[in-house]
Chain length 504, copies 2
């Protein structure tokens, strides 16, 4: 046993050093999206490729394989969800998958990611898909090779999915998404047929951007994001970057006449950040200090953005504060009016600005298209046409250009294929968690109205955050809520809000 | 010859990869000073230690030694200042010195640097030397070991100096500084005896910090800093960070009622940045894309800060712009009044805010004290007393606390021992370069008044920037100006300004 324990400790040290190096990769990526001048792009691709190769070598090194074998007896006789057993199980999974990826391929992916992202940003700004086309082709070619390298017989897309949502498959997602799509479309039709409209114009009054930044910061701090262990900066496409639980970077973007967009982006990213800050720092480097899945991650961001941020209680607390922060901009507006405005349901072109009902329709479109790109049933050159055709069918309107069409999202440019479905999984999990939290904690909205967000955050920390990857996502949800993942709480939540806002 | 050429090309590739990794170290350090939350400090020390060890291994690897030997014939028959010969000479020097430093010691230094710096920042903020004391002790202990490892018989302090100013020694510096100190003291006495005073109060009117940031950015851009290849951010102790010629990061700090402090900090760092942007990017990783010495580096920052930024012509151009940027703050002030105010000579506690005459007295004090700390003639616990005693003797006034005394500078906390004297070398070189540029280019001040800074920048680029480490510093100055380094141009420059401002 002594030998096993020694190996276990050595393994922890090795994992910690790998995480330390990966944290540097995270900083390079964060900086690229926030502060790097254009002239730094070439060097940055080299820096990322260099470190990605080193990280990949560490992750797949035979030394890890030996330590895992030698440490295995240390888990025996312990509960499968004990720290030791969970660490060894998940570290074994990571090693097995890492060993299938040659370090040179990891370097190639990091370099391509950096260059393709720059091309995407330029293409989006110029609304010119041709600039991005060759890079999208290269990226899907590489991700196909990546998926093939990971695959043990399953389709490459499923092999990639496994990185984001362990245990999930395209077929499993289709089985979930199909009925959900039907219910959401039916709800949307009822809302549109109601003839009622929401007046959101008063919420577009100009708010100075500096004050928006300060307000986003104070609101996310109130939700529980700890700025002693994190930051908030500007970016083009909001994201949350993790170095370690003590150093979590939120980002948002602001526009003077679209206060709500930047504000909800900040709430969304704060949900991610609160999760990361809730992981056990003393287990840094191990799978226990790593998020369970991207679906679970999105459940935390969508929960704070939508279940919390679009609730009436939330605005009872924050509207008076917004009045102080933006003198004049919220005059004559009541919390009920904000509640209705932020829950307006209407088809729109941009996913991140979409309402909760149509949001998932944006995801289903991307889910289908990225599968087609992976199987080469869709050629990259044909993406804008396929996007617009499919969008028009789903939303009854056609993007005016590719910037509000297939160029709007950063994901594919940085090789995130199989990531989009986790947003809808996140919505499903979020509603289910919120539903259970409400039953456990009583009047959540009343607490929000009093500015009390700690009970919810602590409930999430205990049920979700502190576990890291101790349980697979479906089991984590079942343990937290008492039921396996189900779309019903999401649909009930959306029906309830539609009833309140549209009387349907 | 083919074999030598192949080795030379392999060497270039190796050096480039090392520089790429070092650029990541630079980013980690830059981020630590600008954006990192407090909770990130522990991880950051690990990240820096990890990469510092890898960089040190690359720099001292036997592969480099072999490549240098194999490539040597490639330099033969070429001029000593040809690209190839200069690269091989300086790369050999770097390798020989790197080989003396064990990678573990480099890791230790990086970790200590990160932690000692955090302790220094806290000590300075709390004005409590006790917080920093143990870290200063550890840092000088480590730098002594570092100097001993580098030394080939010379005192450890000289071995460290060699990193900042190749070819320079403490004895050489004393020979230069002694007479300079005498002349500066005599000038200061004459100024004080003149009985004239300068009214700088109107320049302390409040200026909003956002507008200061924007103004610093536009002024540094006008001087020639290219924001397509660089950035400007806030920090506690201004510095310039180099990733590559395409990614140079300036920093400054601002206070509402001290516009000039933040502005001159920005000009100073822009001088550094313009130098780095002027290095030949196509030689990235080689000594040709590396600054000649810290003294030469400081000559560029001090030149832009003082010879340019404190000239009357400069303010003829920028005062009207400051009036637009800060409505009301510069009403009723003429360029001549700004010129006098920014050239006020008066003893003060803070080096970075000191005038050009007393500035060097601040340096001489640090130069003496850091030598005493290295030889252990001065114990770290006795530093505040020694500082204050020496300061009082030199300046006729005593710091009220250690934050305006021995805690004011970041340098020792990050292991920069032997760095301070390069500031005075920079002042000496700057005046000599400016003197020659004026003779070559004609009426520089007239050009500044018209907003024309490109001729000076291009002159510097041709004489200094583009050469990197092709020549050692003294030779570079002699080639650029026609004379070996001399303090005379600096003294003439200061005499001239004293005559104009104080009539002495």
């Amino acid at each position: 046993m002594e030998r096993a324990e020694r190996a276990f400790r050595k393994l922890l040290a090795h994992l910690r050093d790998t995480a330390t190096m990966q944290a540097t990769v995270s900083l390079l990526n964060w900086d690229q999206e926030t502060h790097m001048p254009p002239g730094g792009a070439g060097l940055r691709a080299d820096q990322l490729a260099q470190l990605a190769e080193l990280v990949q070598k560490r992750r797949s090194s035979r030394a890890v394989g030996r330590l895992l074998e030698d440490a295995q007896p240390f888990a025996e006789g312990r509960a499968p969800d004990s720290d030791e057993a969970a660490i060894l199980r998940e570290a074994r999974r990571d090693f097995d998958r890492a060993a299938r990826i040659p370090p040179k391929l990891a370097a190639e992916r990091a370099r391509l990611r950096s260059l393709a992202r720059a091309a995407w940003a330029e293409a989006r700004e110029r609304k010119d898909y041709a600039i991005f086309l060759p890079w999208l082709g290269k990226t899907f070619d590489l991700m196909r090779r990546w998926g093939e390298a990971l695959s043990r017989g399953e389709p490459p897309y499923d092999a990639l999915l496994e990185d984001y949502e362990p245990g999930q498959t395209a077929a499993g997602l289709r089985a979930l998404f199909g009925p959900l799509e039907g219910s959401l479309r039916a709800l949307l039709r009822r809302i549109q047929a109601s003839g009622r409209t929401v007046d959101s114009a008063p919420l577009s009054r100009p708010c100075p951007i500096d004050a928006q930044r300060a307000f986003a910061r104070s609101a996310t701090a109130a939700l529980g994001f700890d700025y002693g262990r994190g930051t908030l900066h500007d970016t083009l496409h909001p994201f949350c970057s993790t170095l370690a639980p003590g150093d979590i970077r939120l980002t948002s973007r602001y526009s003077e006449t679209a206060f709500l967009d930047g504000f909800f982006s900040a709430l969304h990213e704060a949900g991610h950040g609160i999760y990361e800050q809730g992981l056990p720092a003393d287990r840094y480097g191990t799978p226990l200090c790593d998020a369970c899945s991207y679906g679970i991650h999105e459940s935390q961001s969508r929960l704070f953005e939508n279940l919390v941020g679009r609730s009436l209680g939330f605005w009872r607390h924050f509207l008076p504060r917004a009045r102080d922060a933006f003198p004049g901009a919220f005059d004559g507006i009541r919390p009920e009016a904000v509640y209705r405005a932020v829950n307006e349901v209407a088809p729109s072109f941009i996913r991140v600005d979409a309402d909760e009902v149509t949001y998932n329709l944006h995801i289903f479109l991307r889910f289908d298209l990225e599968q087609a790109l992976m199987t080469e049933d869709l050629a990259p050159a044909d993406l804008p046409g396929a996007w617009n055709e499919r969008f028009t069918k789903a939303f009854g309107m056609t993007p005016g250009d590719d910037a509000e069409g297939c160029l709007q999202d950063i994901h594919w440019s940085i090789g995130l294929v199989g990531y989009f479905p986790t947003y809808t999984l996140g919505n499903v999990y979020a509603a289910q968690l919120h539903d259970r939290a409400r039953r456990d904690l009583g009047d959540l909205e009343g607490a929000f109205a009093r500015g009390e967000f700690a009970p919810l955050r602590e409930w999430l920390a205990a049920r979700i955050h502190r576990h890291g990857r101790r349980y697979p996502p479906a089991e984590l949800i079942e343990r937290a809520t008492g039921a396996p993942p189900s779309p019903e709480p999401l649909l009930s939540h959306l029906e309830r809000r539609a009833a309140e806002v549209y009387g349907v």
